[in-house]
């Protein structure tokens, strides 16, 4: 089951890059987000799965499809024919060298692990408070930049 999901994930991600039609590529990326959310659920990461499916597969894909619709037919650009085989060879060479070293990393000692499993609320609000502050700051920064970029009329704005 895991292998099927992972292969589906790689195929959808590859499709998002290789499919020429931009709308179909965005839909392929959407399917890959849903598959990744399901993988998170199988790894017992329910909260991350919910965020992945609702936020990434929902919100970001709405933004992508809206942008593609706004740009219309001008969204398609003739891409250069750079051989994919070069990157495939690089991938296998790199993974043959690096991945065995990653898999041989030292083991995690028990004393570094929490004695009792914490709840996500405790982790976010008590132990990772600065993450919450950073998230709020990032959201505000994104909103202000969007206002400035999309609606702003600068010195040379038309």
């Amino acid at each position: 089951m895991d292998i099927v999901l992972l292969l589906g994930l790689i195929m959808c991600v590859g499709g998002a890059v290789l499919i020429r039609d931009m709308l179909k590529a965005a839909i392929s990326l959407l399917i890959s987000s849903i598959i990744l959310g399901v993988i998170f659920f199988t790894l017992h990461a329910g909260y991350a799965g919910v965020f992945e499916i609702s936020v990434v597969a929902g919100l970001i894909m709405v933004l992508f499809i809206m942008t593609i619709s706004l740009l219309g037919e001008n969204v398609d650009i003739k891409e250069p024919a750079i051989p994919l085989a070069v990157f495939i060879v690089l991938f296998f060479g790199f993974s043959a060298i690096i991945i065995p070293k990653i898999l041989c990393l030292p083991q995690v000692p028990d004393k570094l692990l929490p004695v009792e499993p914490l709840k996500i609320g405790e982790v976010l609000w008590i132990h990772r408070t600065f993450d919450i502050i950073g998230q709020i700051a990032a959201i505000f920064a994104g909103v202000f930049v969007l206002f400035a970029v999309v609606n702003g009329r600068g010195k040379h704005g038309k």
Partner: protein, 105 residues
């Protein structure tokens, strides 16, 4: 001692590397600005999968908190990036990254 987190799933590690390479391939070879954002999105997905699969055997919930933070930042990056794409299209009627070389310092 518990098993090393990454011993659990070599297939997850290979998937993460494959996604990283696909994302970098997209960024290095494509000229459309939307394709570049898709490449960034793919790399971000790979990092999220790496964090969650690495934390699975020890079941550390902090990993989920980190992934939630990554997703929120990813949303902001995508929103700003797509806003820039629309602005760039209004500026030069194109989203080809080569058309913006005249904006260099």
């Amino acid at each position: 001692m518990v098993n090393n987190a990454l011993h659990y799933g070599w297939m997850y590690t290979y998937t993460v590397f494959a996604m990283l390479f696909i994302g970098f391939y997209c960024i290095f070879t494509r000229r459309s600005m939307i394709r570049l954002l898709i490449g960034i999105e793919i790399i971000s997905k790979a990092i999220c999968l790496f964090i969650i699969s690495g934390s699975y055997p020890t079941n550390i919930i902090t990993a989920q908190a980190l992934v939630i933070t990554v997703i929120v930042i990813e949303v902001c990056v995508m929103a700003v990036g797509l806003g820039l794409v629309i602005r760039a299209y209004r500026h030069s009627k194109s989203i080809d990254i080569r058309d913006f070389s005249n904006l260099k310092g």
